[in-house]
Symmetry: C2
Subunit: 514 residues, 2 copies
Amino acid sequence: MLITLHDTPAIQLHPADDVAIALTPLGSKRQIAIAGRSVQLRSDIGAGHKVALRPIEPGQPVRRYGQVIGFATQPIAAGEHVHTQNMAVGDMQLDYQIGVDVRPVTLVPPEERRTFLGYRRPDGRVGTRNTLVIITTVNCSAHVVRQIGARARAELLPKFPNVTDIVAIAHKSGCASRSSGYEIEMLRRTLAGFARSPNVADYLFVGLGCETNQFEDLFLSQRARLGDVQLPPYIGIQDTGGVAATIDEGLREIAARLPRANECRREEVPLSELNLALQCGGSDSFSGVTANPALGYAVDLLVAQGGTAVLSETPEIYGAEHMLTRRAASRAVGEKLLERVHWWEEYTAREGFEIDNNPSHGNKAGGLTTIYEKSLGAVAKGGSTPLQAVYEYAEPVTERGLVFMDTPGYDPVSATGQVAGGCNLIAFTTGRGSCFGFKPVPSIKIATNSVTYERMRGDMDINAGTILTGAGVESVGREIFEKLIAVASGEASLSEAQGIGEEEFNPWMIGATM
Amino acid sequence: MLITLHDTPAIQLHPADDVAIALTPLGSKRQIAIAGRSVQLRSDIGAGHKVALRPIEPGQPVRRYGQVIGFATQPIAAGEHVHTQNMAVGDMQLDYQIGVDVRPVTLVPPEERRTFLGYRRPDGRVGTRNTLVIITTVNCSAHVVRQIGARARAELLPKFPNVTDIVAIAHKSGCASRSSGYEIEMLRRTLAGFARSPNVADYLFVGLGCETNQFEDLFLSQRARLGDVQLPPYIGIQDTGGVAATIDEGLREIAARLPRANECRREEVPLSELNLALQCGGSDSFSGVTANPALGYAVDLLVAQGGTAVLSETPEIYGAEHMLTRRAASRAVGEKLLERVHWWEEYTAREGFEIDNNPSHGNKAGGLTTIYEKSLGAVAKGGSTPLQAVYEYAEPVTERGLVFMDTPGYDPVSATGQVAGGCNLIAFTTGRGSCFGFKPVPSIKIATNSVTYERMRGDMDINAGTILTGAGVESVGREIFEKLIAVASGEASLSEAQGIGEEEFNPWMIGATM
Ligand SMILES: [Ca+2]
Ligand SMILES: [Ca+2]
Ligand SMILES: [Ca+2]
Ligand SMILES: [Ca+2]
Ligand SMILES: [Ca+2]
C-alpha cells in the first residue's frame, strides 16, 4: 500500500495519551516533534508501535485512545519503546471495576449549541429523512413488498416532493421458528422498530397469512411502541386474494398515506436529536489509528452537544469489556454490559465458535501489546465519554450520550439492530472499502487510508487516511462532525445518492430454522 | 370453509390402502360405494377419520397412502371405525427395519416413455430454463448484483431471445462466520450448486473483497462441481473500484456470456432428465388427503419414467423416519436417513427447540391415530417407490428415482438446498395458499382445496381440492404429471409468469453470526 508520509513520523491519537504511534519505522537517534513537544527517541520503534511521550512510573497507567491499555511494569522514559517488555495488563484482567474512569462531559453552553434540519414527528422524535416503509412479516411476502415499493416509487413518489423515499423492508425469516420465545420477540421488536423509525412517516406491513410471525401477535406485543394507527397497518396476501391483488391493494394503501407524510417539512432542531449508529467493517491496520479515533472525536463533539451515539458489535469489543465498564455511568450499566458479554461466551461455546481473540503473534509484531489495546481499536469510534446505557438488540434507545447495543459484528445485522433502536444516522469506518448503505437511514463512509479512498472515490464520503500524512485526528474528527450535520440536514451520502440500502436489512437470527 | 361434497362421502388415497377417509361425518347405517366395492358402515365415522374397507386380523398392518401406519390390535371388520381403540404402532416404534417395504418399480417400456423439451448442457445435464445468474458471495455485494440483473434484463436480454432470464442470486450471509467449518462449506456448495444448476447456461460471482466467504476458497473447494470456466467467474467491488464501476463491469461480463448462452435450443429429451423438488407449505387438514397423495401419484408416474423426485423437510417427516427406512433401497440409505434424523434431534435440543410432534389431542380428534400417519401426510407427496438415496443439504443429486435431501421445513431454505442439488422443477402443495416462486427454476403450485384455489386463481396452478368432490387422487395425479411436463417444456407456471422468485433464495444458516 502506497502511503506518502511527508514529515509526520508518529501521531498522538488523543490529547490524554501517554504514547504516540509510529507511522513508519523510526531510528533510535531520531528527534520527533509531536503534540507540542520534542521527543528524543531512545530505541528503534517499528511502524504501528508505541513511543512514550513522557516518563511513566512503574504501576502507572498507559493511555492510548484516551483509555488505559495497561500499566508500566518498569520505569519508562520519554522516547522509549512501549511494548511487552515494559507494559502489561496488570490487575485489570481480574477486576471488573465499574465507573472508575468516568470523566464527566462538559456540555456546550446552550447559546453555542449547533442545530440540523430534521423532520419532527408528532410525538417529538426527529428524523433525518421522511420516508414510507413497506415491511414483510415473512419471506413469503418479500416479492410483493418489493413490487409495491418499486411501483410506488415510480408511480406515486414524484407527486409528493416532501417524501424522500418509499422503501421495501424485506427479510428471509418469519416462519419455521417457535411462535413464542426470545428469537421471535427479537424479530418482532426489530420490525416494529423500523415501522417506528424517526425516519419513517408511516408504514404498512404485508404478510402471507399462515406464517409463524403473525402480524396480530407482533402488533399486540409491540403495541407500546407502535402506538395509535390511523390506517390499517397490515394486509395479507391470502386474505386479499393473491399476489396481483395484494400489490394493487398495497399501492392503494401507500397512496392513502402519502398526503399526510408529504405535510412534513424540515425544521431547525438541536443536534441533541441526532442518534448516531457507529459501525466498522472491512477493517485494516489503520482503522485503530485513523478513522476510528477520528470518528471517536466526532462522537465526543456530538455528545457535548447533548446527542447520542450507539456503539455495538459485541464480538469485536470482546476483551475490552473491562475497559468499557470503567467508563460505565452506573453499576447497573456496567453489569448489564458484562451480562451481555457472558451471554456471548455461552452462545459461542454452544455453537462451537471461538470468541476469544487475544493479541496474536502477528498482532504483537504489528505493535499491539494487550487485548485492551486491540479491542479498543474498535471501541475508539465511541470516543471517550461515559457509557450511559446498555441495550439488547433492537431495543428502543432512550438515554442520551454514548450508549452500547449488543449486536453481532456483522455490519448489516448490527446496523439493523441500531436502526430498529431509533438511530437516524450511520457513521461507518472501513479500511478495505465497504459500500454499505442502509435505507431509510443515511450511511456515511469513512475510509481509513487514502488508497482505499482514492480507489473508491464514488463510495467513500470522508478520507481519514489524511491523518497518516499530518491532518490530525481532531481535524478529521471535526470534518466528520460537519459531514454528520450536513447529511442529517438532507445532503445525500454517497451510498444514498447511488440508491444503495434496500438489501442490507438483516434481522439477527438466533436459534434453529425448522 | 365451504366445500361442496356432492356424493363422495369417503376416499381411498392409494389402491393398496385398507382404509378410506371420510370427507364428511358419516352415520353408522350408511352404505358407501368406494374403490369398486360397497361397504356397510358399522359405526359413526367423523370427517377425516378412517373406515376399514376390508376385514383386518389382529397384528396385521393397516395401510394409508399405500404405507403402513400401524397394526390392528383387535379384529377389525369392513365398515368399522379404525382409530386408537383397534389400531396402534406396534413394534415399529422400536425397530428401525430397513428395506422391508421395498416394492420394486416397474419402469415404463422404452417405446412408451414420455419426453419433454429441455436444454441439454455440454456435459449432459438438462435444464428446463436457459438463464444466466449473477451470484453474491456476501450480503455486501447484493445491491450490485441486483442492479446488474435489473439492467441486464432491461438492456441486454431482449437481444437474446433464447435466453429465458437473467437472475440475481443474493443472500444475507457470507461474512462474520468461521472461515472454515461445516456452515461455510454448506454455503459454498449451495452457491456452487446454483452456478451449476442445469437451468443456468453461465454464471458470474460478485463479491466485495474482504468477506469471509472468499471466492477463491469457494472455487477451490467446489472445483469438481464448477468445472472448467471460459470467462473469469468473479469480480470484486474493492478491486474494481467501487459500486458504479462494478455494475458497469458486471454488465460487460454478462454481455460477453450472452451470445454463447443464446445458442442453446430446446430439444426433445427423455422424462428421466426431470429432477423434481417436492415442497409443501401453508399446509391444512386436506394436505394429506388431496394435494400430497395426488402429487405422490404423479411422482410414482415420474419415477416409472426413470425420473427423479427429491423429498425433503426433515422436521416435517420427523416420526415417520421408521416408515421411510422400510422403503430404503439399501442398508446404507436407511442408516444415512437415521443419521440425519439424529443430527436434528441433537441440534434442536442444543437450540432449545422441540422437534417431537406426536399426534396431539386435536390431531386425534381430527382422525390421525399414529405419528406415522401424521408425518406420512407430508411424506405422501413422495409417492410409494423405494428410497434410493439420502443427501445432505445442497449436495449434488446423482441417483434417480425417489431420493431424500436433509433440509429444514421452511420452504425457501428447503428449496434452496434442492435446487442447489440440481432440481430443475418444483412441485409445491399448499392449503392456506403459498405464492412461492423460485428463479431460475419454475414452481408449480397445487392447492389442497377449492376455496384457496378459487380465492388465489392467479397463483394456483392446480386444484387438488377437486378430490373432495369426486375427482379421484389418480386423476389429479395425472393432471399434475401433465402439468410438470408442460412447464418443464416451457409453459410458464403462474408464479413464473408474475416474475416471482428473486426473493426466495435462502441458504440454510447454522451456527453463530459473529
Ligand atoms: Ca463489523
Ligand atoms: Ca459493523
Ligand atoms: Ca410447512
Ligand atoms: Ca414446509
Ligand atoms: Ca417446503
